[in-house]
Symmetry: C2
Subunit: 108 residues, 2 copies
């Protein structure tokens, strides 16, 4: 059975945000993103894929389709196909995100 | 911005497991499933969609492709397209799951 323990998979680097894949199929991927304070995922767009972020720990400063908001633990954020999106850890604590996208980039 | 607070969305019923949709796009859905002790999602199969479960609270007894395992908080389980899958709350505590599927059923 494909089971992953999310926090065990998570690892951080002082160089940049770490993306760790949990699951990948032809229909979706599920990653964990690990951001030290000050690290970010640059704003970008997928024309044909939806992405969601779940904040597991810490606070993220999200940019979705020209809106920006701080999002905290237990909250989830959606970026629809064609909406620009990115996230920055503007806090002083680590940020851990569960991130899913469908379809995955090589199929989008 | 599409933001949902997962535990605020969750609600339980003594009648059956509750599924609450958080996000739905043409590419994916993200739900929260709320199971009282003894409640379950029957084993079923989607031939062309992948589904993942994240245990947010409690313990789930998962059936995936003829394997069964107990999965706890912070763990995630994958059911690939064509794999039978279901979950039962065989514990004495409530079970809360974040569940995503791609593509959603009406597109699969």
């Amino acid at each position: 059975m494909d089971i992953r323990t999310i926090f065990d998979a998570c690892h951080f680097s002082s160089e940049k945000m770490q993306k760790v894949n949990l699951f990948a199929t032809t229909e979706l991927f599920l990653d964990v993103y690990c951001l030290e304070p000050g690290q970010k995922q640059k704003v970008h767009t997928h024309d044909e894929a939806s992405k969601f972020y779940v904040v597991l720990e810490g606070h993220g400063h999200f940019h979705i389709a020209d809106e920006t908001k701080d999002v905290g633990p237990g909250q989830t954020v959606l970026a629809r196909a064609g909406e620009s999106h990115g996230v920055e850890n503007a806090s002083e604590e680590r940020l851990i995100l569960l991130v899913g996208m469908a379809p995955p980039p090589n199929h989008a």
